[in-house]
């Protein structure tokens, strides 16, 4: 929730973001809208926050490659077991063989390769997210498309009959 006391006349992108996300109370919303009506600077800031938010929401979400998290979990479990082995004394032949195995895993060359593999997997995941085209959810700004149509239609037809119907554009409310 947003604190109305923050409305001291200075720009607050967080406030605008909350406004766009419909997270403000009615009094807070009224204050923000009053500010927007009276200040071109606030409106430009709102447009920028909206653009940034849309761009952020437009970023694709992508699952890690198959087996990636299993490998990570296995590695973490592996390391946990190794750490446990360091503090918990293990006796017996079986325990001795396990300890020996884990100790072997902690040898520097193998550890280095493990880090290289994990890093490579992480890089691959990032590349997959950035490079591979993804689909994301789209919520068209229908009112904007309608207004844009009226404006473009006025350039290519009778301007009065294309512009006059734009002004009662009150039907669209999210």
């Amino acid at each position: 929730m947003t604190d109305t006391s923050r409305f001291d006349g200075t720009l607050d992108p967080d406030m605008l973001s909350a406004y766009l996300d419909d997270e403000l109370t009615d009094p807070e919303r009224a204050v923000v809208e009053t500010q927007l009506q009276s200040s071109a600077e606030w409106r430009e800031e709102l447009a920028e926050v909206r653009a940034a938010r849309d761009a952020l929401r437009g970023l694709p979400e992508r699952d890690a490659p198959a087996g990636f998290w299993d490998a990570v979990h296995a590695r973490v479990a592996d390391d946990d077991a190794t750490d446990d082995d360091l503090v918990v004394p293990v006796t017996g032949s079986i325990a001795g063989s396990i300890t020996g195995s884990i100790t072997g895993a902690r040898s520097h060359p193998r550890r280095r390769w493990a880090w290289v593999a994990a890093s490579a997997a992480a890089v691959a995941a990032v590349v997959a997210v950035v490079v591979v085209p993804h689909r994301h959810e789209v919520s068209p700004n229908v009112a904007a498309v309608v207004a844009q149509h009226g404006a473009q239609g006025s350039d290519n037809g009778d301007p009065v009959s294309m512009l006059a119907p734009v002004s009662p554009l009150a039907g669209f409310r999210r």
Partner: protein, 340 residues
């Protein structure tokens, strides 16, 4: 040589006269019809420029039909030096000064995106049969009536064009059943009068220009001629591609965005329907009918001022993704070259 008897000569003369006169009559009728169509087309073209040449102020009534019934709004319209402003009572204000258009809503002014100019706009009689009708009086001024008829003869649009100035005084869009689906009509207008209270364009609001496209970006579609419309401009916006179509009388905008449609985020007031076996959310607004749907990874938002049957054909053509091979070839070949 055998002499014909009198009745036979009369019949022969009648036949000969008819044979000579018929083509002339048909030709004259066709010529008159063609001449009337040309006059109608001239009047329609004239409305595009008249507003820029004449100052006026008046009140227009806008009507449209929504699922809840007939809707109407009164709009104050003024033209001062070619800058047109329209303010709805309890609504928004739109100001157009040529290429730039501004919208004022409850949040203040917004500069709409400046679109590329269309250079290959179809002629008014490109698709529709135009004719003139009996003169009528609108807002106390004599006006010529221009009809655009469907192929079957039913009118799809009726215009009233001011005799003195060429201004459009009334526009009615008619459904296939003959009912008025949408209209703009001046109830009063003072021509030559500059409204001292006309809304001026805002000085501190900037407008961005859309990037003109000469080819279709990967992942988007731009059918060249869906349902009788012609693609006249296409532009890149920050969040999609906007296509603008015209059939000479009506226009349509199609906004394409890549992704999956978030149905829950759409504005309220729409109706779910099936068009071309595609789930579609439709809206009926003063500006026109709107449809939103998704297909093959693209989300489409289509708005048009055309009648409902033309709207359905347009959406059906886009949603069904039906392009003939020649259309596909033409789109592919002409794609890299200039559009508008």
């Amino acid at each position: 040589m055998t002499l014909l008897r009198r009745p036979a000569r009369v019949a022969l003369c009648t036949l000969a006269t008819f044979a000579v006169a018929w083509p002339i009559a048909v030709s004259s009728a066709g010529s008159a019809e063609s001449s009337d169509g040309q006059e109608a087309a001239r009047l329609v073209r004239g409305t595009r420029d008249a507003a820029a040449a004449v100052d006026f102020t008046g009140v227009a009534t806008v009507t449209w039909t929504s699922p809840t019934g007939k809707q109407s709004a009164r709009v104050q319209v003024s033209d001062v030096g070619g800058a047109i402003s329209a303010s709805a009572v309890d609504g928004n204000t739109v100001v157009d000064e040529g290429r730039r258009t501004y919208l004022r809503d409850h949040l203040g002014w917004t500069g709409l995106v400046v679109e590329p100019m269309a250079r290959n706009l179809p002629e008014p009689d490109h698709r529709w049969v135009l004719s003139t009708g009996a003169t009528r009086t609108v807002a106390g001024r004599p006006a010529a009536v221009v009809l655009a008829r469907r192929p079957g003869g039913d009118p799809a649009q009726r215009l009233a064009v001011d005799d003195a100035t060429g201004l459009l005084l009334a526009r009615e869009v008619l459904g296939p059943d003959g009912r008025v689906e949408r209209s703009v009509r001046f109830s009063s207008i003072d021509v030559g009068e500059s409204d001292p209270h006309a809304v001026s364009p805002p000085v501190d609001v900037h407008s961005k220009s859309a990037e003109k496209l000469t080819s279709v970006p990967d992942g988007y579609r731009a059918p060249g001629a869906p349902a009788g419309f012609a693609l006249v401009t296409r532009s890149r916006h920050s969040d999609g591609v906007l296509l603008f179509y015209s059939d000479g009388v009506f226009t349509a905008s199609v906004f394409e965005q890549q992704g999956d449609l978030d149905w829950d985020a759409l504005p309220s007031g729409g109706t779910d329907t099936q068009l071309a076996d595609t789930r579609t959310r439709t809206y009926h607004e003063a500006s026109g009918d709107v449809a939103v749907w998704e297909r093959n990874g693209l989300v489409y938002t289509c708005v048009t001022d055309a009648p409902s049957d033309v709207f359905a054909d347009m959406v059906g053509a886009l949603a069904s993704d039906e392009r003939s091979t020649p259309e596909a070839v033409v789109d592919f070949v002409l794609g890299p070259f200039g559009w508008g």
